[in-house]
Amino acid sequence: MSAAINQNPGNGNGAARPVAIAVENICKRYGDFEAVKSVNFSVAEGEIFGLLGPNGAGKSTLIRMMTTLIPVTSGKAIVAGHNVADDPDDVRRVIGVIPQALTSDQDLTLEENLSIYAKLYGVPRAEREKNINDVLEAVDLTKWRDAQTKTLSGGMRRRLEIARGLVHNPKIFFLDEPTTGLDPVSRIAVWEMLNKLKSTRNLTMLLTTHYMEEADKLCDRIAIVDHGTLVALGTPVELKNSVAGANVVEVHFDRETEEWEERLTKLEGVTSVQPESAGFYRVLTTSGSKTTMQIVELAASLGETLTSLSVQNTTLDDVFIHYTGRQLRDEQVKPVFTMPPRPGAQP
């Protein structure tokens, strides 16, 4: 597996921009287990940077080290010019963090939640009211200002979390799986909001996700992490191009035989064949149209019937699977008790 790692943000959309986050040979060990192994990357100011990876890949560990939540074992992370190990409080002052769980107090109103966090971040009294108004406006929750958080939907609560992370006007915004558990409409609303925030507030954002579409639509650059290692880094286009095969042909034969995979692999331009289910294959090819014709001819010559045949461009799903493989990740992780949701709580 070859990693397409382009660590220089200048080559992506962030050309010649100052670096907001620089991660150098960062490692995290829990006893003998190495959760993050010597990862390097940098994020330019104003960039939206995505960390993609399967469950247990080390994304959350990385983000927690950068946000000072867990100590770094070795290497260093510089956030807004401050080393997270040496100047954690300086880092905390300039970052906003949206954790994976919805942690705003359900019994408090939106304004109270924001006010308490503004105080925790040390926002002066004179600016507090204005900041709260601004962030509520930014996440389109102004009219819910005095509502108790428990009355909000899941999507609205996620927007409140975003507002909470912005209440002190941070320069860098960390979001750990910001749309997990949201319905598609709410998810799109959050994407639009993050894009708007990026343009209006010149925020640098680093987010983790395992939604490929989210990473593709939101991120200027994406790093794919697997087994604690950075396996690929680049713009979505660069990553797609890094996978051999410009197109994906999905073919479903009426009858499954053992020879299909071998026959498909031998076709001209085919770079890889991924069996999906009985008679169903995803074929990565440099020329979708040519391979399609060849498959039709192959089926006709063998007297086999095609149930379906489609051609599409390479997606981030293909990139993700290419770099991380297809095996299920069920490594044992440190047991962490999570509370069941409160009755009536939104997911």
């Binding site: 954790p99 105080k119 040390g122």
Partner: protein, 370 residues
Amino acid sequence: MNRMFAIIEREMRKFFRSPTLMIMSLMLPILQLIIIGNAFGGKIVGTHVAVVDHDHGPQAVKVREAFDAVAANIKTFTVVDYPNEVEAREDVRTGKIDAAVIIPEHYSRRVYAQDAPQLGLIVDNSDLFTSATLEGEMQSLVDAMNAPQVQDRLSKSIALEIVELYPYVNYLKYLLPMTVALAMYISVMIGGGMLYIDDKARGVHEGYLVTPITKLELVFGLNIAGAIKATLSGISIGVIGSLIAGLGVVFHPMIMLQMLCLIIAGSIAFNGMMFLLMVRVDDPLVPRAMFGVLNVLLLYPSGAMYPTVSFPKWMQAMSVVDPFTYAIHGFKAVLLKDGGWIAIRGDLAFLTIFGIATLLIATPLFKRTL
């Protein structure tokens, strides 16, 4: 400092927004006061005592008259006639009656002859309280019957004059100090134990940890909020419990001040202890599992329900380091004895030092990171 107040504000807002939690945390101590106070504190009345009269003489009639006087006045027992001793003993054993008095043959003759007359009393000593009460009552009757009909002008026997310093303290009043301490403990257990760990598990603390709040601000914010909640709980139960128990002294300004000082010191001590116990706990099931165990370990050795001098040495050692002991001793000294500052200064000192010490031990153990 503002950050610490933000933590306190958040905790207090949550506390006041959860009326069910508030009511339930006050309910248990109030119910204990009412139920245990009334269950254990009342006098025994209405028991049934069998009388097996083998004598039927004038002195036996005198005994019966004495029994009838008890039944008519203090109502400790009523009398049931039984034909024989065997049947009476069997009915005491099966619980049909509570005791049996045997008046033997020739009882009257022996009384007149002053020839060691005896009355028999069969009791069910598996029920300590009832048997002790009946024994005491019977002994009083026998003493009265033994007293000479004509008293000497100058008593020749030694008399014990008992001076009770305080008005009669019924069990409801006796339990009130325990109830106030228990209310504070429950508040600390729920607020400083369960909700604290629940917040950790839900990721609320993660939200705090990414802000520039210092470890001390966070620790003090959480503990001051916990102590305020316990103090409010102690004050509420102190007032409600006093009204239920009929203790008006709690409204005397000096008593109020002394109670307030004890409640604040007790809240600091209980909260510090709970914070120390929970500082490294992540699993929300732990404080729930510990609730009952801690209750037994802290409440019973404290002398809340039974004097500590009756305990074995190891339990007395437990009571020495138990903050409940000092809180309850202080509340008793103030509410039941009006002992003043002298009576409670030791308790105040212990509780304050205990609270500060546990907090000082817990603070370095508190992790500023996940």
